[in-house]
Amino acid sequence: MTTTILTVDHVSKHFGHFQALNDVTFSINRGDIYGLIGENGAGKTTLMRLITHLSPLADGKITLLGESATHYQQALKHVGAVIETPAAFKKLTVRQNLKLTAIQHGIQDKHLIDQTIDFVGLSAKQKTKASHLSLGQRQRLGLALALLPQPDFLILDEPINGLDPSGIVAFRKLLKQLNQERNTTILISSHILTELYQVSTKFGFIHHGKFIKEVTKETLDKENESGILLGVSDVKLAAQLLDNDNIGSFTVLNDHQILIHNFSIDTAKLNQTLVTNGVAVTNITRQEGSLEQYYTNLLQHQGGNQQ
């Protein structure tokens, strides 16, 4: 059994002079719920469209369920996707849309339609035309259509958009259930980072078409604890100075960052101590420990690198 579901290898995409994706490389393992994070126009949807072959691939290589070329279409049969807006035939009812998808996939099991409608919570609306559904219900229908063939890999592009708070909670439960009960691997993008944080096991950050970072949830939590985030030129010397000053517990995050877990320290005095001892301080910020904060810091760091 393939443990790597998807490998994106040095993929680039241009639209005229606009570079939508620039040398993107990453992979998704079986069982992951992979949260893809990026601003509008960062390249998330383009990436998903390339994976599903809705956009022709010109540069790089994408391997899906072990297939990269001639049998890619076969691999797509094991993929469910809702890209951009969920699409369904508006004049058909929820059940008829699912029946149509069942026929397309050669699904004989009639109970599967009932189970899927039930799973996404649309039992009460199964005889309602798609055009009469609310946005949240349409999102659920889109998900149901993607789930019906029981895919190994589910691709969801901004699925939480337009959902009300209770809809978001239900959707989150649904994704977790899918992942845990059916071992469905999920690639999901969303602007609602708090939600993405709650469902994802791994995160990929994309910015201006570049894949800038990938972290597991554990690493993110570790790197993203709340406290005072200190950006320094010499992390080793800074750590020694913090020890000498009895500043309390702190974590060295990387070559340039230290997280001090004590919020009540005197940051002005700390700055003076470090600078006096020859450690350049690039930033002292309060880190609240959210995915949003992590993302903002990452973008700031990225902006700093670009300058």
């Binding site: 599903t52 797509l76 699409a87 369904a88 998808t101």
Partner: protein, 256 residues
């Protein structure tokens, strides 16, 4: 591809528009046969025949021929088939679900085209059957043997379907190229008129090979032999092949 065909037929059995179209086609047939009023859009309409046809004693056979002359009008009604079978996929963006389901691009285009052909054939058969039944109801004579009447009707229905299919294949290319359902519909409407106008202005003889409805009428009236018909059929197959190749190339390179 077979599954896609089955899915398309399932969708159509649940689409009100198809039943409405069937009713309209049958009504058009009944009115044409009842009133003996025929007409259509073609380059070389046998005008003398139209005049004679209106004044002659109508039989079931002449009724069938009258319907054939009017069959070019059907193409305008069948734009709705084009819209329902392939247009909805693009306007409602459901092609994304279809293509992500693993069907090849060629499978997708062939399935859509075959579905349209079968739809058109069913409607055309209904068109002729309604005409024959109306003739019977009006107490008209057969005008030939039953065998000849049905073989002529069947042959004409196949030819009408085929030629409408050729025009629709060009419209599919327009749809793939422009993503405009309106543009494709305008093409279907304009094509026969454009051929007629061009023919009148330029007098280009080769235009007769793509004036599909004039050919259909001539075959129905037995004005051309099977040998004479061959260049027409090969031209149509060539157009079909080119259109299929173009549509496939476009959809493979297109941002969907």
């Amino acid at each position: 591809m077979i599954n896609q065909l089955r899915a398309d037929f399932y969708r159509q059995t649940h689409t009100f528009g198809h039943y409405l179209l069937l009713i309209l086609v049958i009504l058009f047939s009944v009115i044409t046969v009842y009133s003996k009023n025929v007409g259509g859009i073609m380059v070389s309409a046998p005008a003398d025949f139209l005049g004679r046809l209106a004044n002659m004693q109508w039989t079931l056979l002449s009724g069938t021929r009258g319907l054939t002359i009017s069959s070019s009008v059907l193409m305008y009604a069948f734009i709705s088939i084009f819209v329902m079978v392939i247009g909805y996929e693009f306007s409602q963006q459901t092609y994304k679900n279809t293509l992500v389901s693993g069907i090849s691009r060629s499978g997708f285009i062939i399935a859509k085209f075959v579905t349209m052909l079968l739809d058109i054939f069913i409607q055309v058969i209904a068109f002729y059957l309604a005409g024959i039944l109306t003739g019977i109801a009006l107490g008209r004579k057969i005008g030939t043997s039953w065998g000849n009447l049905f073989s002529t009707t069947l042959l004409t229905a196949v030819i009408v379907t085929f030629f409408i299919g050729v025009v629709f294949s060009m419209a599919i290319v327009i749809l793939m190229l422009t993503s405009s359902l309106i543009g494709s519909a305008i093409f279907i409407v304009a094509f026969p008129m454009l051929i007629s106008i061009l023919s009148m202005i330029t007098k280009w003889n080769w235009l007769k090979y793509i004036d599909f409805f004039s050919v259909t009428v001539k075959i129905s009236l037995k004005e051309i032999t099977v040998n004479q018909f061959q260049p027409y059929i090969w031209t149509s197959f060539a157009i079909l092949a080119v259109c299929f190749g173009l549509a496939l190339t476009i959809i493979k390179r297109k941002e969907l």
